[in-house]
Structures are given as structure tokens and as C-alpha cells.
């Protein structure tokens, strides 16, 4: 990559290479159709049957793979049992009570925690971690769930989250630390992380169900696969950004490597690590819908069932119960991490007043619950519901504004979406592969060129070129729009704490509210098709665009801004020359995550009738064809990897050109 960056004597200007490459590309595009039709459409007969190979391999893995003493499936079933154990305990505690026997023959030995007790315990955790305000917020979130009649389902969902999140955070942290310590491991794990985050869950759902059994455990495993990568990435980035002086100080006072890691590095990276924890919580809650499809039940099931009968109000209530859980858990984890431990003298009760309080509440509520059922289970008579209100709101908009909305939609479709789609679909795959390889070579050297070029060719060879281009078109436009919204909002919010609180609530909502909840009203107003899909993708992908921009801008050393001001910079100059530039690594990570999020929405967009790779994955699921699904899933991942590597290489090259040094990549 060095040769692309080093300034050297040139007889041609820098951009001449690009002009040449684009020129060749254009010639191929215009003249190639007659001369070399295979460059546009990979001949069907030549398609490499990767799908069949993968199907055969999965079959072997499920039925025959063995380590001698036990089979692979037995190993995974064992892992499932290990995960299942804590899950059962939490579920019994929160939702079902402790049962003897199974199914309809089960007898309850102990009831679950009373709803009042659950609220009180979480409020006490809030008080312990962050004081009275947090306690009130958490109590309000849980009371909201109870009032809208979502208690039972919410506890089922909470149980799986309480198991998945600690596992995801611990696993992500470990992988992140390993990646930070060993560059080799980092290089090995990066493509794996990309695959974990970008292969749509539907693509590997069937094998997972076979391996881990049908039920909540498989859902937890799928959640872990999807939710862990951001934690790993953030950990690695955060550790790399800990100021060198701190590490030096640690060495000077004679820290062992272990002390160095856990006493110096991890605590000083805490703020950034919490972004990772936040992401694990958010993404776990994101999986609630898919988890409910494979036997986890809970709020996700309620959302799906409500939307199937077009009961928008019920869907929204269940959806916001998920958001309420997310907000409570996220704020609790933030506060718990930021809490300063103080020591108090006295007996066990005086030293642990909150723990004692929690135990006492649980006990009192349990006893009272025996006498007054209202204490044990939230009474149905007190439940509120928005009833048909939301359905009527949608109807009112539909009847009064449909023509107006239709006009906007048609304008966007005809002037932006369709031309761009036609343009991409008309490109020859040979040319695209060549161009991407050239970009890789200019930005990162021949290795990157080989990677981007060969991944592109692989997509074509697997016979997925057209669907891949539709994917690029949909996700590309959505990412661009998400960044156009996210960057300015992030810049505004980074400086204004009050605005940031509001914005954070909005993006937390967007990220955890199941997109189904707003997708079906969107279908009513915009019909099925690309436009509706785009709305859903943008709504979801705008969250990381904002979040990482704010993270980066807030992390800029205030002394540098002071220095800039002292030198007479205007606010605009400070923003452009200092803050944005120093925040570039985070903003680019944000762009990376925006693309990943957009791609992860493909499964949802398939549900409103797009014809992209997401649909291919969905079709494969319905035909019980794991090979076909995984190939389409891999194609999605390849697109993500190409975008990710080119962005990173471009950022490195840009930084080097600007003389910013290597920083944290």
C-alpha cells in the first residue's frame, strides 16, 4: 500500500489512472454487449454449484460429523443444554414460576416473582447504580409494560435477553482483547466478524435449529452470533485509543500484563466499551422477532401476530414494550459501569442496603401475593390499551393524504431509484470486478485488489449477479440517505447535551422498535416495493450514523479545540479542521456500521417484495435449502466486506495524505 501513498515524481497526474480505468469500463459497457455477452450475464450453464456443495456439507455436519467419542450434533446439543440451564432459571423466576413436570401436566411449585417485586428490584438496581432519577426512569419503563398488558410476554423476552447479553458482552470483550493483543488474530477474526454480522440470520437458521434444538436456546445462539461483533470491534478500537501515557504509567508502576489489562486499559476505555455493551443490548432486542419465530415466544410473537391481523395498535404496544426494556437495560448498564465504588462500614445489611431492600421486597410481595392476587399478577382490569386508535390514525392519513404521498413516492422512484437501479443492472460484472480491483489497488495495494476483485467475481460465478446489484442499489441509496441525515444530526447533538438526550431516545427507539411495526403502515401508504423497503432500511441504519458521529466528536480532546480557538479559528473551521478530522476514525466506523445495518435489514425488505439477495435467502428458507440460503448470505457478506475494506483503505490513504499519522484504524 505504501507505493500508492508515497509522493514521487510523476509524469502523469494522480487521477490519470482513474480516467484510464473508467474509460476502459465505459468502452466495455457500451461496446461489450454485442462482443462479449458473457461479461454482462454469467452464463447459467456455467454457474458453479456452490449451493449444492454447501447443502451436502451441512447434511454431513448434522448427521455424520464426529469427534470419535461424540458427534458434532451431540456437542452442540450439549452447549445448548449449558445455555438452557440459566435460561430456565431466569424464565421460571420471571415468567412461569418453578414447575414440576412438563406441558399441561406441570404443577407450579413456586410462583414467579410478583410484578411489583420485579419493578421494585429493578428500581433498586437503578437507585444503587445511578440514584433516584434512574430508579424512577426504570420503574416507569416497567410500569409502562405492565399497564399496557405486556407483562407476561415481556418477562419471557427479558429472560432470554438477560442470558444473551452477558454472554455476548463477555465473548465480545475477550475476542476484542485478543484481537488488540495479536495482529494475526485480528486479521483472522475480522472476516469472521463481518460474516457474523452480515449473513442474514435466515440463511443459517435451519442448520442452527438442527444443531441446537428448536426453542429459546437456538434463539439465544442466533442472537449471540448477530450481536457480538460490534462489541468485539468497539473493544479493539477502544483499547487502541487509550492514551500511550497511561500505558507508560502502568509500566512504570510495575503492572503485570494482567493488571495492565484489567486495571489500566479496560477501565480507561470504559466509556467506549459501554457503546459496545449498548450495541449488544440493542441488537439482542433486535433479534426478538426472529427469536420468536423459533420458539422463544414473548413480545416478538405478539408483534407478528398483531401485524398479521393489521392491528397496528397492538403491534405498537408490544413494540414499545421492547423499546421500554431496551431503554431500562441500557441506562442501567451505563450507570452501573460509571458508578464509583465507595466503602461503607457496618454489618451486612448496612453494607448492602440495596440488596437487603430487594430481598425484603421480593419476600413481602410474595407473601402479600398469596392474599391479594393483584400483587402477584397485574390485574387485567387495570390494563390500558390504545385499542383501534392507531389503526384509525393510519386510516385517516391514508384517506386524506394518500395522493400526496403517492406523488412524492413516484417522484423519488422515477427520478432517483429507478434510474440508479437501471444503471447498476446494466453494468457488466467483468467491468465492475475490474474497477473494484483497481480501486483496491490504488487505495490499498495489490492484496486488496485481489480481495475485492475475486469476491466480486465469486458473486457473479455463483449466479447471483442481478440480485446482488439490486442489493447494492437498495442498500447504497439507503446508506447515503442515512449518512446525509446522521452526520448533521450527530454534529448538532454532540455539542448539546439536552438535544443528545432526545436524539438518543429516538435512535434507541428506531433501533429496537421492530421494523414490522412501522413497515405495515408504510405498506398501506406507499404500497409494497422498493420505496417502502428504503424507508425501513434508512430508519434502522440512521442510528449508527448518528451514534458514532457523536461518539467521535465527544471524544475529541477539548484542549485541541481550545488551542484552535486561541489561534482565532471560527466555529466552522474548528468543526471542519479539528473536530471532524479527529473524529474521522469513529465516523468511518459509523459509516461501516451503517452499511452493515443496512445489509442486515435485507431480510426485512424481502418481506415487502424486493427482489434482492434477502429474497433469495428467504426463498431458500421456505424451500428448506440451506446451501442456497448460505450462498446468498455469503454474497451479502462479500458486498459488506468489499465496502468495508475499501472504506478503511481509503481512510488510511486520506489520513496519510493529510499527514495525520496512523492513529487508530
Amino acid at each position: 500500500m505504501a507505493e500508492a501513498i508515497l509522493p514521487r515524481a510523476r509524469t502523469w497526474p494522480r487521477w490519470s489512472g482513474w480516467v484510464l480505468a473508467l474509460g476502459l469500463f465505459l468502452v466495455l459497457r457500451v461496446a461489450g454487449k454485442g462482443l462479449a455477452p458473457w461479461a454482462f450475464d454469467w452464463p447459467k450453464a456455467q454457474t458453479v454449484p456452490v449451493a449444492r456443495w454447501i447443502s451436502a456439507f451441512t447434511k454431513w455436519l448434522l448427521n455424520e460429523a464426529s469427534f470419535g467419542l461424540f458427534t458434532f450434533a451431540e456437542l452442540t446439543r450439549f452447549i445448548a443444554a449449558v445455555i438452557d440451564f440459566p435460561y430456565r432459571i431466569v424464565l421460571s423466576l420471571l415468567a412461569t414460576g418453578f414447575l414440576k413436570g412438563q406441558g399441561s401436566g406441570a404443577v407450579q411449585i413456586l410462583p414467579p416473582l410478583a410484578w411489583i417485586a420485579v419493578i421494585a428490584v429493578f428500581a433498586l438496581i437503578g437507585a444503587w447504580a445511578g440514584g433516584r432519577r434512574l430508579a424512577l426512569l426504570v420503574a416507569a419503563c416497567f410500569t409502562f409494560i405492565a399497564i399496557f398488558g405486556q407483562w407476561q410476554s415481556a418477562m419471557v423476552t427479558l429472560a432470554s435477553i438477560l442470558v444473551a447479553v452477558p454472554l455476548g458482552v463477555a465473548g465480545g470483550l475477550m475476542l476484542g482483547i485478543l484481537a488488540w493483543r495479536s495482529p494475526l488474530f485480528e486479521r483472522l477474526i475480522r472476516p469472521v466478524l463481518d460474516l457474523m454480522q452480515t449473513i442474514p440470520v435466515f440463511a443459517y437458521l435451519v442448520p442452527i435449529l438442527f444443531l441446537f434444538g428448536f426453542g429459546p436456546t437456538a434463539a439465544v445462539v442466533a442472537t449471540l452470533i448477530y450481536a457480538m461483533p460490534p462489541m468485539t470491534r468497539v473493544t479493539q478500537l477502544a483499547l487502541a485509543r487509550v492514551p500511550g501515557e497511561l500505558a507508560d504509567l502502568g509500566h512504570m508502576v510495575g503492572c503485570t500484563p494482567r493488571q495492565m489489562l484489567w486495571r489500566v486499559m479496560v477501565p480507561s476505555a470504559r466509556d467506549a466499551l459501554m457503546v459496545g455493551v449498548n450495541q449488544v443490548i440493542m441488537l439482542s432486542l433486535n433479534m426478538v422477532i426472529i427469536a420468536s419465530m423459533i420458539g422463544a415466544g414473548g413480545l416478538g410473537f405478539d408483534v407478528l401476530a398483531a401485524l398479521r391481523r393489521l392491528d397496528f395498535g397492538a403491534g405498537l404496544e408490544a413494540g414499545f414494550a421492547i423499546v421500554a426494556l431496551a431503554v431500562a437495560l441500557d441506562r442501567l448498564s451505563h450507570a452501573a459501569a460509571a458508578r464509583q465504588a465507595g466503602s461503607v462500614q457496618g454489618g451486612p445489611v448496612a453494607r448492602h442496603p440495596y440488596l437487603a431492600g430487594a430481598l425484603l421486597t421480593v419476600l413481602i410481595a410474595a407473601i402479600l401475593g398469596l392474599v391479594a392476587p393483584a400483587v402477584q399478577t397485574y390485574p387485567a382490569a387495570w390494563e390500558l390499551s390504545t385499542g383501534t386508535f392507531w389503526s384509525r390514525v393510519v386510516e385517516w392519513i391514508n384517506v386524506n393524504f394518500f395522493d400526496f404521498l403517492e406523488a412524492i413516492k413516484n417522484a423519488v422512484l422515477l427520478n432517483l431509484l429507478i434510474p440508479f437501479k437501471r444503471f447498476l443492472l446494466g453494468l457488466p460484472w467483468v467491468g465492475v470486478a475490474g474497477l473494484l480491483a483497481f480501486a483496491g489497488w490504488r487505495l490499498g495495494g495489490w492484496r486488496l485488489a485481489v480481495l475485492t476483485g475475486s469476491l466480486t467475481v465469486l458473486i457473479a460465478v455463483a449466479g447471483l449477479w442481478e440480485k446482488a446489484m439490486i442489493t447494492v442499489y437498495l442498500c447504497g441509496i439507503s446508506t447515503a440517505i442515512a449518512m446525509l441525515i446522521g452526520l448533521p444530526v450527530g454534529i448538532l447533538a454532540a455539542e448539546r447535551d439536552r438535544l443528545w438526550t432526545v436524539v438518543r431516545a429516538v435512535i434507541d427507539t428506531l433501533q429496537t422498535l421492530p421494523s414490522f411495526v412501522y413497515l405495515m403502515p408504510a405498506v398501506m401508504l406507499f404500497r409494497v416495493g422498493d420505496f417502502t423497503a428504503m424507508i425501513a432500511v434508512v430508519a434502522f441504519a440512521v442510528a449508527p450514523a448518528i451514534r458514532y458521529t457523536v461518539l467521535g466528536l465527544k471524544g475529541v480532546d477539548p484542549r485541541l479545540i481550545e488551542a484552535g480557538r486561541a489561534m482565532g479559528c471560527t466555529e466552522g473551521q474548528i468543526l471542519r479542521r479539528i473536530r471532524l478530522r479527529l473524529a474521522l476514525p469513529e465516523i468511518l466506523l459509523g459509516l461501516n456500521q451503517t452499511i452493515m445495518f443496512a445489509l442486515s435489514m435485507l431480510v426485512i425488505t424481502a418481506l415487502v417484495g424486493t427482489r434482492d439477495l434477502g429474497q433469495e435467502v428467504y426463498i431458500a428458507l421456505t424451500k428448506a435449502d440451506p446451501g442456497r440460503g448460505l450462498v446468498a448470505g455469503l454474497a451479502v457478506a462479500f458486498i459488506a466486506i468489499i465496502a468495508d475494506r475499501l472504506i478503511q483503505a481509503g481512510a488510511r490513504a486520506a489520513r496519510a495524505r493529510l499527514g495525520l499519522g496512523e492513529g487508530a484504524a
Binding site: 412438563q102 399441561s104 404443577v107 410476554s153 428448536f214 401476530a305 404500497r527 418481506l607 428448506a624
Partner: protein
């Protein structure tokens, strides 16, 4: 669901207590719960609840598991799940065939309900297209245009089911030379969201509707009458009005099957016989779906009513 679940639990307790006596005959069979899958549409919830109630009356232990319609086959093959009460010929055939081919999943026979699927339009569209419901009216350019939108004009817009449902609508349009463009909805919820939207505005719409479902009960409309389906129509191009193409007719009626884990037969022979015997017809189901989705009754209440009204029938299935 929250209320339903706790209620279900209490009811489960009561029923199993009642069933202790009745269950004596089944004592030699497994006491493990028979796991029935619940999907996300009302008809299936009712069918499953009826089957579960009947099995409990016969003294079996029953557990309901929420599962995706297609993903459930992974569970049915391994025996993690036992019974799925509604597998539609029209939408689940391929997944079902793939599963039964492994020998680990068994087809427990038809439920007695028939899936009706066809092109459907709201009654108010008859004004603009008076020849309906005869399909030949759709060939008229003015009629097709009445169903068009900006993207499809001058062709009519037909909203088909998700591609995963199959249905051969693209072929049908070509074979019958209809001036229509087929748009595929991605999911069944999207399909009905569009219908709801159009119906509220009394706007044109032509789409794929299936029954038993609440939609034909809620919205006033009719099925398009295509030449009646025969096996030859789909297999033999020479059949029908277009001598060169198959699919020049309407959609077939499809059975709705009961499927399950192949081990059920040996583990719970009595339950196996009861599940195989279970049948119900479209009209009964349609009425129950309407009660739940449009009249606001709970699935449990509707199931209880059916159990009370049909005691003779279900007692025969469990040999009492």
C-alpha cells in the same frame, strides 16, 4: 398473549385434573408433553387449540410452542416438536416434501379444510369493470386500466402473494394474455395491508386472497372466475384456451395437511390415532376465525364453544 397464556395454564391444570380418570386407559403411553406448534395466524391457532383440548381430554400432556411455519420442520425432524396442525398444500408443499423425504416427518392426513386461493377484487370495482367476475372481462383494456397504477399503467396491477407461495401467476397472465403486471408482496401481512389501504379509499385493487381467512368476511368482494383448474391444465400445454401454454386456468384448491414427527406413532399411539382422525370443514373454521378476528372473542373462548357443541364428534376421535 399474556392473558391467554396464564389462562391457558390454569385451564390446562383444570383439564388435566379432569382427565386423570379418563387418562387411565392411556397410562402405558408416554407422559411427556406432546408439543404442538403455534403460528401467527388465527385459523391455525384455533385448529391447534382444538387439537390440544381434545388430546387433553384424552388424558395426554400437551405443550404449545410458538414456531415459524417453515422453520418448524427443523424441529419436527428431530422430535423437538411433535405436531403441526396446518400445512397448506399451496404454500408449504415443498418444505413438507423435503421433510417427509427424510423419513423423520410424517403426513398425518388432511384436516378436511381446503385452501381456496384466487384473484380477488372488492365489489366496488364491478362498476368500473362490469364483466366481472368472468375472467374474460380482464382482457378488456379499459378494465385493466382501471386496476392500474402509475408504475404499471396502462397495464393493470395484480398484487400476487410472496414468491415463496408459488402460484404461477406470471405464467397465468402470459397464458391467458391478460394485460396485467404481477407484483409480488413479500409477506402475507403486506398483502392485507395493501387491501386495507385500498378498501379505505375505495381505490382499485386486484390481489391474491386465500380462505379460510378473515379478509373475505371483512371486505365485500368476489373471486375472479377463471376456467376451472384441472391437473391437465397445469401439465399439458394443449389443454384450455391457449394451445401453447400451461396454466391457462384458475388455481387449484389445496388440502391443508396435518404433519408431525414420525416418532409420534410409537410414543403416543392413542394420540396419533386422534390426530389422524381430526377433521373440520371450511365453514366451521371461517365462522370461528370471524368470531376471533372481527368480533373480538378470544381463541380459547371460541375453542371452548366448539368443544361444547361438538362433543359427540371429538369423543369419537379419541375412542370414547
Amino acid at each position: 398473549m399474556s392473558k391467554t397464556k396464564s389462562k391457558m395454564f390454569i385451564r390446562g391444570l383444570a383439564v388435566s385434573a379432569l382427565a386423570l380418570t379418563a387418562g387411565a386407559a392411556m397410562a402405558q403411553e408416554s407422559a411427556d408433553p406432546i408439543k404442538l406448534t403455534l403460528h401467527d395466524w388465527t385459523g391455525q391457532l384455533i385448529t391447534t387449540r382444538l387439537m390440544g383440548d381434545i388430546l387433553q381430554q384424552a388424558g395426554y400432556n400437551v405443550e404449545y410452542v410458538q414456531a415459524d411455519y417453515l422453520a418448524q420442520f427443523a424441529g419436527l425432524e428431530t422430535g423437538d416438536l411433535d405436531v403441526a396442525m396446518e400445512m397448506w398444500e399451496t404454500t408449504g408443499r415443498e418444505a413438507m416434501d423435503a421433510a417427509t423425504a427424510t423419513g423423520k416427518v410424517e403426513n398425518f392426513g388432511p384436516t378436511g379444510m381446503k385452501a381456496k386461493e384466487e384473484w380477488w377484487y372488492p365489489t366496488y370495482m364491478k362498476e368500473k369493470c362490469p364483466g366481472l367476475p368472468n375472467w374474460e372481462a380482464l382482457k378488456d383494456a379499459a378494465c385493466a386500466e382501471a386496476f392500474s397504477t402509475a408504475e404499471t399503467a396502462p397495464k393493470g396491477r395484480y398484487l400476487g402473494g410472496p414468491v415463496t407461495w408459488g402460484g404461477f401467476d406470471d405464467e397465468r397472465v402470459e397464458a391467458l394474455d391478460l394485460p396485467f403486471e404481477v407484483i409480488h408482496a413479500g409477506t402475507d401481512a403486506a398483502l392485507f395491508a395493501e387491501l386495507e389501504s385500498a378498501y379505505q379509499r375505495q381505490a382499485p385493487i386486484m390481489l391474491w386472497i386465500y380462505a379460510p381467512h378473515w379478509a373475505p368476511a371483512k371486505y365485500e368482494g368476489e373471486w375472479v372466475e377463471f376456467p376451472e383448474y384441472t391437473v391437465e391444465c397445469y401439465n399439458d400445454p394443449a389443454w384450455g384456451s391457449n394451445p401453447d401454454m400451461a396454466y391457462d386456468c384458475g388455481k387449484p384448491f389445496g388440502e391443508i395437511w396435518k404433519v408431525g414427527w414420525a416418532g409420534v406413532k410409537d410414543k403416543w399411539p392413542g394420540a396419533y390415532a386422534a390426530i389422524k382422525a381430526f377433521t373440520i370443514d371450511n365453514d366451521e373454521m371461517g365462522a370461528m376465525i370471524t368470531d376471533v378476528d372481527l368480533n373480538g372473542k378470544t381463541v380459547e373462548a371460541v375453542a371452548d364453544e366448539w368443544m361444547a357443541a361438538n362433543e359427540g364428534r371429538w369423543k369419537g376421535w379419541i375412542g370414547q
